[in-house]
């Protein structure tokens, strides 16, 4: 196999898949670090985002990329709503109770998707898109947009976290929640902000998975493990780590078919997760261990 083949068939799809995982993993890592629990409904929230975009495409006849911001806003609102209605009351209880609640929320979101949109696979647009040839490397437009969108969204998020007052408040809450409260930082607003960001990124993640493959009710659930593996690989609480982790998991999954049967592609994320917990639970960029 020559180098071009390797890049075209494994590395490019790996980066695309990795970007999709990264978008979800960033939200997971923020929730893990700031709210301090593993959010198991994250994958299904991404599914919901993908289907909200589909509703905009089919209902309003807009192009998928116009539907994306609608899905981002819609899913962010749903995420905030879920927190207010279901998670907020559990805040004083052991965190694991919220983890359990989120498993139930995952089931509920999926049921909503299945009732509203059915169980058949769907797509944003029909027809086959042929890749363009860039000096022998073949890439589809949508693959470029996926990577680009991930870089832009995460870049904006990083600016927000390092430059703005509320972004810093989020970091402070992740760093030392007690001191953040003593400093008068409004916990409720930080929590809400975290959900807006995580929900929005979730929608983007689901949307790009949908545009690069297809939409189905289980799409998000199957991303949950790779997204967690990415967040832990990068280091919990590290946004740039989640991106790095996402890309590594995505590329590793695609490359894995060279050595193991393709049915076990999904096992790569699990292997990476266990390996990191075994040798370096703080992740590559020295994150938290809860």
């Amino acid at each position: 196999m020559d180098l071009f083949e390797l890049v075209n068939f494994y590395v490019v799809p790996g980066i695309v898949l990795g970007s999709i995982y990264a978008l979800g993993a960033v939200g997971i890592t923020l929730i893990f670090a700031i709210l301090r629990y593993a959010h198991l409904a994250h994958g299904d929230l991404a599914t919901l985002g993908a289907f909200i975009a589909l509703a905009a495409v089919t209902g309003m006849g807009v192009s998928p990329y116009v539907a994306l911001p609608i899905a981002v806003l819609g899913t962010a609102a749903v995420a905030v709503g879920i927190d207010k209605v279901f998670y907020e009351h559990l805040r004083e209880r052991p965190k694991i109770v919220t983890v359990m609640a989120s498993l139930g929320i995952a089931l509920m979101i999926r049921a909503v998707v299945q009732v509203v949109w059915g169980v058949d696979t769907q797509t944003y647009s029909r027809g086959i898109v042929r890749p363009e040839d860039y000096f022998g490397i073949r890439i589809r437009d949508r693959e470029i947009y996926t990577l680009l969108a991930m870089v832009v969204l995460v870049g904006v998020l990083q600016l927000f976290l390092t430059r703005s007052k509320w972004g810093k408040a989020m970091r402070a809450m992740s760093d030392n929640p007690n001191l953040a409260l003593l400093s008068g930082i409004d916990n409720k607003k930080v929590v809400m902000l975290t959900w807006v960001i995580a929900g929005g990124l979730c929608a983007a993640s689901g949307f790009f998975l949908g545009i690069n493959t297809e939409l189905k009710a289980m799409m998000g659930w199957h991303m949950l493990l790779p997204m967690f593996a990415a967040a832990i690989l990068g280091g919990v609480g590290r946004v740039e780590g989640a991106v790095l982790g996402g890309l590594i998991v995505g590329i590793a999954e695609e490359l894995s078919v060279l050595v193991i049967p393709s049915e076990y592609k999904a096992a790569m994320a699990f292997a990476i997760l266990l390996f990191m917990l075994l040798v370096r639970p703080t992740g590559l960029l020295k994150g938290k261990v809860l």
Partner: protein, 321 residues
């Protein structure tokens, strides 16, 4: 439905309740007593089901086994296999907060699902393994059902007695001490990780046994036999609703939830076809909602954890972490 049909249905329900109660007991060891979050119950269930199937079926072409051994050996094998799968996962994850275990058990259940689908040599692929002998299966239909119910009920009672005894023994006291205040338990020199690993493996073994009893009852096991997420979730809601930390609660929860679940299935099956699919998912939504409501309004469940002597002083502080 005529009388014999009703009796049959009741028997059928009772057998399933016993099997689910066993699974809920297994989860109670992990969650109720050790605070371990297992989100991959279906995986351990499947390992048990297939292991016992391979051990006890007649030899077949194209796959390992069967070994045509007695079903009791199959069931013991199921427990061992499920415990064996739990061991490395627990070993790696139990050093951390239970969130990590939740993720890893979702992962292991997924891997087990992949193996079942892609390794026909072990599992006969999509067709599954059939011809699994049902104990007392050669009697008449009704007699056979009754006999099987007696067997599963006996297993459940034995498991209940053993688990209950362990919980009241020093072992149980130690587990609760670890669950309620890990640091204090550690400071007292308890080997927290090892104790948790024990609980995790024992719980998984019971789940494996539940899987085996399910397979022998159906006389076959296929990858489609259970929906992993739904099965896992049902067992969770059984335990939480029944009362985590209370073995009788786990059994009661299994009965209540299984009856609600089955009766609602009968109801939705009668709907016209175009609504039936949606109704199926609506049921899932409602069961998810039920968990939220129980967690919020009755977190202790129908039968709260009994306050044992060693706990009365610490229990009030246990929920504050």
């Amino acid at each position: 439905m005529e009388f014999a049909g009703l009796v049959n249905y009741a028997l059928f329900m009772a057998i399933f309740i016993c099997i689910y109660a066993l699974l809920a007991l297994g989860l109670n060891i992990q969650w109720g007593f050790a605070g371990l979050f297992n989100a991959g119950i279906a995986g351990f269930f499947a390992v048990g089901a297939y292991t016992s199937a391979i051990i006890s079926t007649a030899p077949a072409d194209g796959r390992i086994g069967g070994f045509d051994l007695h079903f009791v050996i199959g069931w013991i094998g199921a427990m061992l296999a499920a415990g064996l799968v739990a061991w490395p996962i627990g070993k790696i994850c139990l050093r951390f907060r239970s969130d990590y275990l939740a993720i890893a058990t979702i992962g292991i259940a997924e891997i087990i699902r992949l193996v079942i689908k892609s390794e026909p040599v072990l599992t006969n692929g999509a067709r599954g393994i059939s011809g699994i002998p049902r104990p007392a299966g050669d009697m008449g239909y009704m007699e056979s059902q009754i006999a099987y119910l007696i067997i599963v009920l006996a297993v459940l009672i034995v498991a209940y007695v053993l688990v209950e005894r362990q919980f009241n023994a020093p072992w149980g006291r130690m587990m609760r001490a670890i669950r309620d205040d890990e640091d204090a338990a550690r400071a007292m020199g308890k080997n927290v990780e090892f104790r948790r690993l024990e609980a995790f493996i024992f719980g998984a073994a019971l789940m494996g046994l539940g899987g085996a009893m399910f397979a022998h009852f159906n006389r076959s096991i296929t990858p489609e036999a259970i929906d992993p997420m739904v099965a896992t979730f049902l067992i969770w809601i059984m335990l939480i609703l029944g009362g985590s930390g209370n073995n009788r609660g786990a059994i009661l929860g299994a009965a209540v939830v299984w009856i609600i679940w089955s009766v609602s299935e009968i109801a939705t099956d009668r709907l016209p076809h175009e609504y039936a699919v949606q109704a199926k998912y609506l049921r899932l939504f409602l069961i998810g909602l039920m968990l939220q409501l129980v967690l919020r309004f009755r977190p202790e469940g129908l039968l709260p954890e009994p306050l044992r002597g060693d706990q009365r002083s610490t229990k009030s502080g246990a929920d504050r972490h």
